[in-house]
């Protein structure tokens, strides 16, 4: 995670812009509309996929894969990360990494002690 190695060049703020037409990269319009089309198709796909049964967790995995592809498209093209500094991508991935870290530890722990909860509930149900 530590991005200290990357570090923008010293005083990068002072690097000259490229002349007067501005420094930003303008995303071509056709690309934007193309990406929207793909996103809409993927949405339709993810909705229609639910009509088949793909095993216990199959549907969840497929839905998440499609959602991640859509998210990837939005992040690289709409959010301009493809032409942006690598540091911004590192930042975004760090946040996702910490989200996954938080989720995984909480679930691991919760599922470990879930049988205590179930046995407690079962015994309470009998006592009633």
């Amino acid at each position: 995670m530590a991005d200290h190695s990357h570090g923008a060049t010293a005083g990068d703020g002072h690097a000259g812009g490229h002349g007067d037409h501005g420094f930003a990269h303008t995303t071509p319009l056709s690309l934007l509309i193309g990406i929207l089309a793909v996103l809409l198709v993927l949405t339709v796909l993810t909705v229609s996929v639910t009509s088949f049964d793909l095993g216990a967790q199959g549907n969840l995995v497929v839905a998440m894969v499609i959602a991640t592809v859509k998210a990837g498209l939005v992040v690289t093209y709409f959010m301009h990360l493809r032409w942006d500094r690598l540091f911004h991508l590192i930042l975004f991935l760090t946040s996702v990494l910490f989200l996954i870290l938080f989720l995984s530890m909480s679930i691991t722990d919760r599922s470990e002690y879930d049988r205590d909860i179930e046995s407690f509930r079962a015994s309470q149900a009998q006592a009633k």
Partner: protein, 330 residues
């Protein structure tokens, strides 16, 4: 021979930690305590060596390299500002010590968290500001265990988080509402050891004290038999008085006429009580029995519906004992 009743009454002597043998730790009275004490002392000595080393270096440098007044413009002698070997040295050595400590601590932890088979099981309920222990004959508010025998406590909480902590046995486990947690120990010394609540649980968190009475060999079974026999033939009102004290009823009700969290019992029997719904009810055996089994059925006006149910906790004889006791309060 002390009267059997005293057996039932919690000893009135104030709670005390038994005399300490070492400076840091309370008297260790359980099988697993020795291991913890040993590791604790090992770490104490490691820390003393480590910190004395650092303080000595610090003070020595301050004395040796103390500068004169700033106007003297003394400059520090050139010395290296980087020494990889030294850096690696004081990274790897602490790492090795840490790994050793982790492994040692981990083994102890796993041992403490897996109760041995065939241990004597006692159900413990933590509720706001009282520990209750279920025994075959009924509930007690003092934990009685035999010496040199594995005991497994199955903890649950009736309301908020509590934490069952016996310093002398070096054991602690939270009582979490909505699930079971457990801890085990084997007492090696007979006697009485205090039990604290270590997880903050409200107003009287610091008064949620009880004691664990470790009986000599054979003493535990004798105590069980005595209490059972006692409960058979003690007159009902006295039995009721004991049950009321043990179950923690007096934390909310009173017997001297002043209302507390719950209504007072003085002279309540036979009175017509105004209920929260506006109706009135005559306080008779059935009303008291129903209010114990299902407290929220008929709540007296202007009192909170916060009484827990005692369904399944009191035997019929204990129930009628409580009713007789309330009747006797004129």
């Amino acid at each position: 021979m002390t009267s059997p009743l005293l057996l039932l009454q919690p000893a009135q002597t104030p709670l005390h930690l038994p005399e300490r043998t070492t400076f840091w730790m309370p008297l260790d009275a359980s099988v697993t305590a020795a291991d913890i004490d040993w590791l604790y002392m090992f770490m104490i000595w490691m820390s003393v060596i480590c910190s004395l080393g650092i303080f000595a270096a610090m003070l020595y440098f301050v004395m040796k390299f103390k500068a004169g007044p700033r106007s003297a413009n003394e400059t520090s002698e050139p010395s290296s500002e980087h020494n990889t070997a030294l850096e690696i040295g004081w990274s790897v050595i602490p790492l090795l010590i840490c790994i050793a400590l982790f492994v040692w601590g981990f083994q102890g932890f796993v041992n403490l968290r897996t109760p041995p088979k065939g241990a004597l099981e006692v159900h413990v309920t933590g509720q706001k500001w009282k520990w209750l222990f279920e025994y075959p004959h009924g509930t007690e508010d003092v934990l009685h265990v035999p010496v040199d025998r594995d005991v497994r406590l199955i903890l649950q909480s009736a309301d908020v988080l509590h934490s069952f902590y016996i310093p002398n046995f070096r054991v602690k486990m939270d009582a979490v509402p909505g699930r079971y947690t457990d801890l085990w120990f084997r007492a090696t010394a007979a006697g009485e050891f205090p039990v604290f609540c270590a997880e903050y649980c409200g107003t009287a968190h610091s008064d949620m004290l009880t004691r664990v009475k470790v009986h000599e060999p054979g003493g535990y079974e004798k105590w069980l038999a005595d209490v059972k026999k006692e409960l058979e033939n003690v007159p009902l009102p006295q039995l009721g008085k004991l049950v009321v004290e043990k179950q923690g009823c007096l934390t909310c009700h009173t017997t001297d006429g002043t209302p507390k969290i719950g209504p007072t019992w003085k002279g309540v029997f036979g009175k017509a009580e105004q209920l929260s719904g506006g109706a009135t009810v005559n306080v008779d055996e059935d009303y008291i029995r129903e209010s114990i089994i299902d407290p929220t059925a008929k709540i007296v006006d202007k009192f909170p519906p916060s009484m827990p149910t005692y369904k399944g906790k009191l035997s019929d004889r204990q129930l009628s004992g409580v009713i007789e006791y309330i009747k006797s309060l004129k």
